[in-house]
């Protein structure tokens, strides 16, 4: 299978465990425990129960009738991850990792968050399982995502503001890793994407594959065939990995990952490492990163806090180099236009992150015949972004 991983945690040449020695025993423990759990039918049964009863899975497959008519090409379908409890795909992963936390006998979880979706999903899972929870969040993101900050607190989590660096997702990740170094004995780090050191990229992908497994079957049930193109937005890459991986061996299914093109494609103005970055090491794995010639992490920008990250999961780097997935980007403006379009044609306000995937699908669909299918992973809903959207629209006038 093309998404196999080596014993040492490499996807092709990408991945690995580039972390301080202090974290190695926690990572080795996690690797052992995850492998054992994932081979345990009881764990699977419990995870599936959580996905059903807590996350509200399976999420619907939705045909965009009016949007398809407007585009005048391929049929556009949405995988409705925005309908999940807490509003995005993030809950799939946090429920899995919270279950694993209980299995390891740990009592506290920590997480990093950008848009706050992963923080809310972690706080939710922590509440469900009675775990102590701290979420690290850059102060710039705290400003942009005030509603999610409040939700996390309401759910009983402590939100730790991070003042270092650009005060966004990358810096929150640094702080979470630092915290984990001194707390791993009783604490599990619920990393929110397919990034970081092994086994996180593998584990998070596995917890998110419910998206693609369901979508694949739903397409067969509804349309009698698989989609021609699957489109997903890529920040760290967890929703994309979750929908891509179960169809990666379906060779006729094209896959497109959409990164944040931000204001321009100049370094510092976007968050598109797969589109224009280079090989590098960040947060424990070798993948594509945005950095300067000295290896210093570059500044990044995106209208969406969840994509505002200079790295990407190592499996995506492999998929890029094997040409299994095409990676591209869309600008802040294009994402906003797509957000408005989906809102007005289908009554669905997508998250700014997911709007990047919608934008690319709107470019692809008109170029394809009407009997073809474009499937968008609608990874989250836009409620959290409404303040930000209001500000942007006010500036546009």
């Amino acid at each position: 299978m093309s998404n196999e991983i080596s014993d040492k945690g490499y996807f092709g040449i990408f991945g690995g465990q580039f972390v301080p020695e202090t974290l190695m025993s926690a990572l080795q423990q996690l690797d052992r425990e995850f492998t054992a759990a994932w081979n345990d039918p009881e764990f699977h049964a419990e995870f599936e129960r959580c996905l059903r009863e807590i996350a509200g899975r399976p999420s619907e497959l939705y045909f965009c009738k009016r949007l398809t008519e407007e585009c005048g090409g391929a049929k556009i379908y949405l995988k409705r991850e925005d309908m999940n409890h807490t509003g995005a795909h993030k809950i799939n992963n946090t429920l899995g990792q919270a279950l694993l936390t209980k299995r390891m006998g740990k009592t506290r979880v920590i997480a990093e968050t950008g848009a706050g979706q992963h923080g809310v999903a972690t706080a939710t899972a922590a509440a469900v399982f009675g775990l102590e929870c701290e979420v690290f969040m850059g102060t710039e993101d705290i400003r942009r995502q005030a509603l999610n900050v409040f939700r996390m607190k309401l759910l009983g989590a402590k939100v730790v503001p991070v003042e270092s660096g650009q005060r966004t997702l990358k810096d929150a990740t640094n702080e979470a890793m630092r915290n984990w170094m001194s707390t791993s004995e009783n604490t599990h780090y619920i990393l929110g994407s397919v990034c970081g050191p092994h086994p996180f990229p593998l584990m998070v992908r596995e917890f998110q594959t419910c998206i693609g497994i369901e979508a694949r079957q739903q397409m067969l049930d509804v349309a009698g065939k698989l989609p021609n193109v699957v489109v997903a937005c890529v920040g760290g890459g967890s929703n994309a990995a979750g929908i891509f991986a179960p169809m990666i061996d379906d060779k006729d299914v094209q896959m497109v990952g959409v990164e944040a093109g931000g204001r321009s494609m100049n370094l510092g103005d976007h968050a598109a490492p797969l589109t224009v970055g280079s090989h590098g090491v960040l947060h424990g794995s070798l993948s594509y990163v945005l950095q300067d010639g000295d290896g210093q992490t570059a500044e990044v920008h995106s209208v969406s806090a969840g994509l505002d990250y200079p790295g990407v999961g190592p499996e995506h780097a492999m998929w890029k180099e094997t040409n299994r997935v095409r990676y591209t980007s869309c600008s802040d403006e294009e994402a906003m236009d797509a957000l408005i379009k989906l809102s007005r044609t289908e009554g669905i306000i997508p998250a700014l992150e997911s709007s990047h995937a919608v934008s690319e699908a709107l470019k692809i669909a008109p170029t394809l015949p009407k009997d073809q299918i474009v499937l968008i992973n609608l990874s989250g809903r836009g409620d959290k972004d409404c303040n930000e959207i209001q500000e942007i629209l006010a500036r546009r006038k």
């Binding site: 580039f18 190695m24 630092r178 170094m181 090989h279």
Partner: protein, 271 residues
């Protein structure tokens, strides 16, 4: 490895029955000239081996003190090339300290691992500590360091299982860096009580010198760790000293002198 200043220094210390202080400085903080001045000054005060932290945008093993100094150095325009040049000048001026660069693998990888080792050795560096290249990932890198005549110092944490500790000590060259606490760098007033025993235990398995770092900031803790260890590594306490001087707008000579004074206080009990 012959004629490596770090290996030679430990051999001399051993035959003299002495332990040593390994100061850590952020290279290029507050500026490259000050770091150069500090190297010459501390050499006169009896330091044999010194660590230079290469500023990095995302140092996950470092606490707020070192992290802030890294950011300040980068904001002031420090580059890898300027730091190699500083070491080269220090050697040209006759400096004989054993010099280690503590550098993230992000930086090494970007430069090219082999090219980095060659450039560092050529500038006059004697060893590397790559804190995010643990055993399991370091196997391809160690021969490159050795080929350039550089020690590759590896780290052991309190969380490292016993058999892994012994294996790391076997692979580490120059010395073994024993991290005293599970966590990030920074000053602490007391060492965990089990540190000395753990180092003593490790030393029964290896002839490679063992130095202890993280959380050491006063003469008492230096003496304490050196009951078992061959050296005490002190970092954040020096950065604090520099911060205070920078905040008071002290001239370069005064920063160097303030740092030197702390070096003398910390090294005195080991004389």
């Amino acid at each position: 490895m012959k004629d490596n200043r770090i290996i030679n220094a430990f051999a001399e210390l051993k035959s003299a029955g002495k332990k040593t202080l390994l100061p850590f400085f952020t290279a290029g903080y507050p500026d490259v000239e000050t770091t150069g001045g500090i190297l010459h000054d501390i050499e006169k005060r009896g330091v044999k081996i010194c660590e230079l932290g290469i500023p990095f945008s995302d140092p996950i093993a470092d606490g707020p003190t070192i992290q802030a100094s890294y950011s300040a150095a980068l904001d002031a325009g420090v580059t890898l090339q300027k730091l190699f040049d500083m070491v080269r000048s220090y050697r040209a001026e006759g400096g004989q300290l054993g010099l280690l660069m503590m550098v993230s693998y992000s930086i090494v990888f970007r430069y090219g691992a082999e090219k980095f080792c060659i450039a560092a050795a050529d500038a006059g560096v004697d060893g590397l500590i790559v804190p995010d290249l643990p055993m399991g990932e370091a196997e391809a890198f160690a021969p490159l360091a050795e080929a350039s005549g550089l020690c590759n110092v590896m780290l052991i944490a309190p969380t490292t299982p016993e058999d892994r500790k012994v294996e790391i000590a076997k692979q580490s060259t120059g010395f073994v860096y024993y991290i005293s606490v599970s966590g990030i760098t920074g000053e602490r007033t007391k060492l965990p009580p089990e540190t000395v025993a753990a180092v003593a235990e490790l030393k029964t398995h290896t002839d490679t010198p063992v130095c202890v770092g993280f959380g050491i900031s006063n003469p008492e803790t230096v003496v304490e760790v050196c009951k078992a260890a061959d050296g005490a590594i002190v970092g954040s306490a020096f950065i604090h000293r520099i911060n205070d001087a920078v905040a008071a707008n002290a001239p370069r000579e005064e920063i160097v002198a303030n740092v030197g004074q702390l070096v003398s206080e910390l090294i005195a009990p080991l004389a």
